[in-house]
């Protein structure tokens, strides 16, 4: 079968083509720590210097046959631009020194920022521009924003945010926080599409930790607006929630995402069925730690075969979450090979 470019391969799947009719299913494995380590760059630099991020990704996509140029690094880019002071260790994940909104009332003083005048989102925009210049016609470029509950958690601290989301006493203020996070996400998404991003990923990890009613009533309306914003700008919308989302899949299906990532605890077959007819394509769901990191080459291949069978040509095949830093290269190569092989 003719070898497609990563862009055409993904486009075909999003247009509804069964991956059995393509040279292989797309591979959207998430590289962050791994990509930095691959080029011997400290992770702090990968997060703060777009040239390092771009180099790491460009070198990895070629070597490991991955179909996306990603700008993912850490969840606190918007958080920093909103005004949170970060701790950026040399080779670890950046995180807030202290939360910006220790009291929910503080949300009234929270100001939106212009992505083009920001620091960390602007760095991501520069990465997109550089990707576009280097390989933009072959590869889809992935921008990123934090979803409403994820960003609220980063600004408030996750423990307080998980109380805010259920606490009826402060409902109005929490909605104000979600509203501001949503407006900012839309602004940042548009700026990234304008810079050349084809896809905007929405990371809303904390949603795996809340019950279905809360997700549907309090979060879905905001996620919907972000998706509308991405689509209006001409982008493809992708959702990423780490962890177990079996209980909210039906509601996710109503939001309008084009790509829905699922982690390894989610049932692939069921997820594909749930998304049937909604226009959303499932992406997942091999265990990044038990299989990709700790498994052998044949474990990886078998997991990919199994996933392909369950998806029956209706999904993008990737690990359920980030490829761990110390994954053996042979495992990631085996991952790519197993996508081409006849099963």
């Amino acid at each position: 079968m003719t070898k497609l470019t990563p862009y055409d391969r993904l486009k075909a799947v999003l247009d509804g083509e069964n991956t059995k009719n393509l040279d292989r299913a797309p591979n959207l494995n998430i590289l962050m720590f791994f990509a930095a380590y691959y080029i011997n760059a400290p992770f702090g630099k990968f997060c703060t210097d777009y040239k390092t991020l771009v180099e790491g990704n460009l070198r990895c996509v070629e070597k490991f046959d991955i179909d996306v140029l990603s700008t993912m690094s850490d969840p606190v880019r918007e958080t920093a631009d909103f005004g949170t002071e970060l701790d950026i260790p040399e080779d670890e994940l950046p995180h807030p020194k202290r939360v910006l909104l220790p009291n929910i009332e503080d949300v009234q003083n929270l100001q939106l920022f212009d992505p083009l005048k920001s620091v960390r989102i602007l760095d991501r925009i520069k990465a997109i521009e550089l990707f576009k210049k280097e390989r933009g016609d072959e590869y889809p470029i992935l921008g990123w924003v934090e979803g409403p509950l994820a960003e609220a958690s980063d600004l408030r601290g996750i423990n307080d945010a998980l109380i805010d989301v259920i606490d009826e006493d402060n409902e109005e203020l929490f909605y104000e926080l979600l509203e501001k996070c949503t407006q900012e996400a839309i602004w940042c998404a548009k700026a990234q599409v304008e810079a050349g991003a084809h896809i905007i990923g929405v990371g809303d990890a904390a949603c795996s930790l809340i019950n279905r009613d809360l997700y549907r009533e309090k979060i879905v309306p905001y996620e919907k607006r972000i998706v509308e914003g991405i689509k209006q700008a001409g982008g493809i919308a992708r959702l990423h929630i780490c962890g177990n989302i079996n209980h909210i899949l039906e509601d996710i299906a109503t939001v309008g995402f084009d790509i829905v990532d699922i982690d390894w605890m989610v049932d692939m077959k069921h997820a594909v069925e749930v998304m049937q007819g909604t226009g959303a394509v499932i992406n997942g769901n091999i265990d990044p730690v038990a299989v990709v990191l700790n498994g052998s080459v044949s474990d990886v291949k078998n997991a990919v075969y199994k996933c392909r069978k369950e998806a029956n040509g209706r999904a993008i095949i990737s690990a359920g979450c980030e490829i761990p830093k110390f994954t053996k290269h042979e495992n990631l190569l085996a991952f790519a090979e197993a996508l081409y092989e006849q099963i």
């Binding site: 670890e92 994940l93 995180h95 996750i158 423990n159 998980l162 109380i163 989301v165 259920i166 606490d167 930790l209 809340i210 019950n211 809360l214 209980h247 730690v289 990191l293 700790n294 761990p324 830093k325 110390f326």
Partner: protein, 214 residues
Amino acid sequence: MTDLNLLYEAILKGKQKSAVELTNAALADNVEPKLLIDEYMIKAMGEVGLRFENQEIFVPELLMAGRAMKASLNILQPIMKNSGQKTSIGKVVIGTVKGDLHDIGKNLVASMLEGCGFEVIDIGIDMDSEKFVEAVREHNADVLGLSALLTTTMPYMKTVIDALRDAGLRDKVKIVVGGAPISAGFASEIGADGYGETANSAVTAVKNLLGLGK
């Protein structure tokens, strides 16, 4: 007379205000604080833990229940202290190990332990072995709880255990470990005394270690 089952309900449902009101009302009726705690509050937290384990409720509900429980305890404990009663069935120091920022699971364990009558000193996330040693020594802890959510940080639990040994404290404190990637096998491999898969089993493990099991 206050209907004490309402206190059980208030904690189960995470209603902090009603929990406080009902606690005060019960005290006005001269109900023994210890009875409130043992027969209603701890039982409510036990049910909360069970429902969480069965995925009937999620993290927010558990956090709310923990908060309601704490608010009631804050009223009852000073009264018990003043009358010379024991307010804690044991002292637990807990924290997430170095390099690891995940703290939701650890917090839930801490709040379940508190809810079940332990005094808990939560020293936070990303803690190095010296901090654990210091805290165990300073608080004279009966149990040390270590949490790790990353495969890359779980080996650090052993570093902490070794540091306690070097500090001559290993025999004075029981160690329980937990977090998504941790297994009972790993726990015994690194020389921990116990392991808990969930917040509920964390409580059981700690009780067993202190000979407080049912």
